[in-house]
């Protein structure tokens, strides 16, 4: 019996620390409960409830269609403008919602962080992944629109999970940076709305990236959301943009953000309980 007694050693950590992702695995049940809590609580005491998951992208699409599509006559790669915008807004809404939820998540869980030990990574991860429910709801509407416009996805649709993964990696990577920074600097709270607004226009949601010529187009996809949006259009609507290289670049960029975010988060983690 003595042999299987676990020994925990508590000592100061120095500099960059190991990621200890196995610990995250050990706490997977807690992670599951936190995600579940975030999902349960998200639309409690709202009149419209889960409809909010659809209203946001839908209304943005309507506004975009009116101003950019109808009045601005912005090209849309030969796809009807409303669905051109909406297919981009579905992953975008997941991304921007994830950012705003996650950047505040650690501060919002201050009482938890000060009173219980668990890998702090659980908190922003739960905040980001709980948005997948909203994503699924908004995606249903997308399927409806595809039926309406008579667009059938081809075999390329099998790439969709990969593209969704790219979206999650991007959201999580940026969220890790923002949530950890927010513990120390509440400035982040003011930055996030501003950041997502600029990022929205730096991503080809209202316009096609085909407006750019190579090599700028591929370079442009250092913004990982470029790869996501172009990938979604290509996989679901059959846009003939051949976004392969763009998605590759976006993947590398997203992984870099995620990895740096993880290390940065882990480095600051030890100070959370003292500072938050």
């Amino acid at each position: 019996m003595e042999s299987n007694t676990q020994v925990i050693r508590i000592e100061p950590s120095k500099g960059w620390v190991a990621l200890q992702l196995h610990e995250l695995w050990a706490y997977r049940e807690l992670l599951y409960f936190l995600i579940w809590r975030d999902v349960m609580v998200r639309y409690k005491q709202t009149a419209l409830g889960a409809a909010w998951a659809i209203i946001q992208p839908l209304f943005t699409m309507l506004v975009f269609s009116l101003f950019f599509g109808r009045l601005g006559k912005i090209p849309s790669d030969g796809i009807p403008y409303p669905i051109f915008a909406y297919v981009a807004l579905v992953p975008w809404t997941f991304f921007s919602q994830g950012l705003s939820q996650a950047s505040n998540s650690l501060v919002g869980s201050a009482n938890l962080i000060k009173k219980v030990y668990f890998p702090r990574l659980c908190v922003p991860i739960a905040a980001v992944t709980s948005g997948l429910i909203d994503f699924a709801l908004a995606f249903m509407v997308l399927l409806g629109m595809m039926l309406y416009y008579g667009i059938l996805p081809g075999g390329k649709v099998i790439w969709l999970p990969v593209l969704l993964l790219l979206t999650i990696i991007t959201s999580l990577g940026v969220s890790l940076w923002l949530s950890a920074l927010n513990v120390r600097f509440r400035d982040v709270r003011h930055i996030v709305p501003f950041l997502t607004q600029i990022w929205l226009f730096a991503t080809p949601i209202a316009y096609p990236s085909s407006l750019l010529s190579e090599p700028w187009r591929t370079l442009y996809s250092i913004n990982p959301m470029v790869g996501v949006v172009e990938g979604f259009r290509w996989a679901l609507l059959g846009a003939e943009t051949a976004p392969g290289p763009m998605v590759m670049v976006s993947f590398l960029a997203a992984l870099a953000i995620l990895a740096s975010g993880l290390f940065y988060f882990r480095r600051l983690e030890k100070t959370f309980a003292d500072v938050v």
Binding site: E11, E29, R37, M40, K115, Y117, Y264, T271
Partner: protein
């Protein structure tokens, strides 16, 4: 080595306390206002979390703490405010890292620095039970298995599917504690969770703690409640200003801790400048509690008597002056009132100007274990209240010597002298 559960070796924890920047020239101030954001971003990217460089002061919340806890031992941690108790618990619960030294914990540890951590107002009692259980380190199967027991213990069966925001604070606490009480780690780290709730709830918590201790689990327990410490713990550690002051048998450590804080806590005295008594005809000078051997104390046991001593100054001759002592329990029930004129020979003489000292004994086998407060008042019966001091002294009655089984209800718990005679059916004494 195998019987060590917690080993703490030279643990230290340093905190930065922000110090105001020295005033420099306006130009410097302006310049630093402009460069500060850049310096901050720069230092941030290097992973530094200091504020402006070099301007911080440090305090050691803990320094060179070393002790060992054997498996199955129940150890209490005591000390005044700011002694470092909470910091020690936070380090041992891995919430915060030590700055120096290390600690080893052998076995599955559960820490309870608060009840109801992570409870969400919008979720139901059932949902919160699962969430809180997971946060405390139970897995779903474990919670499933204990769920009925938890609900029964909490006595909120009817409302288990109601959001906890509609709970009364008592229900909320009971459910929160019920979840916590069903945590079954090998090593339990507990902070002052007993400080919340009413006396009945505290008694329930203490009972649960006691049974945990009896099961042979290792418990590290922080409390201000000296009664609870002596009752539950075999060993106690006393911290003072971040240092380990004393470690040893709980009763000894508690006694020496209490005698060290005599002036501060065991005795109340009021100086002339004290506005409380100024200008009135009677001025309370001091009040204290003493054990039978004249030692000042703030904790007594069920089976010992307690002396109350109060000194007061009478400034003008007063006829029929009484000084009364009111004893309240932790739920603010008046347990009794007694006056320094309660002698048969007293006939309402004049108290001439002078200093008086009134003492009395509270008999043993009367006050049930718990916390009590004493208030004092000076008055002339039916005429006026001259002076009234509320909650002047606080003391605990520990459960030592309280052998009544089962526990008795009621404000006091006197052990009365009973005589039982037996009669046969025809009324004849046997």
């Amino acid at each position: 080595m195998n019987d060590i559960a917690i080993r703490v070796a030279e643990i230290g924890k340093r905190y930065r306390i922000g110090k105001a920047e020295k005033y420099k020239t306006l130009r410097d101030t302006l310049a630093s206002a402009f460069t500060a954001p850049f310096r901050k971003v720069g230092s941030l990217l290097q992973g530094e979390v200091t504020d402006d460089t070099g301007l911080d002061e440090h305090i050691w919340a803990l320094k060179d703490i070393a002790f060992e806890v054997r498996r199955g031992e129940v150890i209490g941690v005591i000390g005044g405010n700011g002694a470092g108790k909470s910091t020690l618990l936070k380090i041992l619960s891995r919430i915060t890292e030590p700055t120096t030294g290390f600690a080893e914990i052998h076995g599955r540890v559960g820490s309870l620095l608060e009840v109801g951590t992570g409870f969400h107002q919008e979720l139901t009692g059932r949902e919160n039970t699962y969430l809180n259980g997971a946060i405390l380190g139970m897995n779903k199967k474990e919670i499933d298995r204990k769920f009925d027991e938890i609900v029964a213990f909490s006595e909120v069966e009817k409302f288990i599917d109601t959001p906890v925001k509609h709970y009364s604070s008592g229900m909320y606490l009971r459910l929160a504690f019920a979840v916590a009480a069903h945590l079954e780690p090998e090593i339990l780290i507990v902070d002052e969770v007993l400080a919340v709730g009413d006396a009945g709830f505290q008694q329930k918590c203490l009972g649960k703690m006691g049974s945990v201790a009896k099961e042979g689990r290792t418990v590290l327990f922080v409390s201000h409640n000296m009664g609870a410490i002596t009752q539950l713990c075999g060993t106690a550690v006393q911290l003072e200003k971040g240092r380990l002051k004393r470690i040893g048998p709980a009763a000894e450590v508690v006694n020496s801790y209490l005698s060290a804080v005599v002036g501060a806590e065991l005795k109340s005295s009021w100086s002339d400048e004290s506005s409380k008594s100024n200008g009135s005809d009677v001025r309370f000078r001091s009040a204290r509690l003493l054990s039978t051997d004249e030692q000042p104390l703030s904790i007594t046991t069920f089976n010992e008597s307690l002396r109350v001593e109060i000194a007061y100054e009478v400034k003008v001759p007063i006829r029929n002056l009484s000084v009364t002592c009111l004893l309240y329990d932790s739920m603010n029930n008046l347990v009794f009132e007694s006056m320094d004129t309660d002698m048969p020979e007293w006939n309402g003489q004049v108290r001439e100007p002078d200093i008086y000292r009134a003492t009395t004994q509270i008999p043993p086998f009367l006050l049930r274990p718990g916390r009590y407060h004493l208030s004092f008042a000076a008055f002339v019966e039916g005429v006026r209240v001259i002076e009234h001091l509320q909650r002047v002294l606080t003391f605990d009655v520990s459960g030592v010597g309280y052998t009544l089984q089962p526990k008795r209800d009621g404000i006091v718990s006197p052990v009365l002298d009973w005589k039982v005679c037996r009669f046969s059916e025809n009324g004849q004494m046997v």
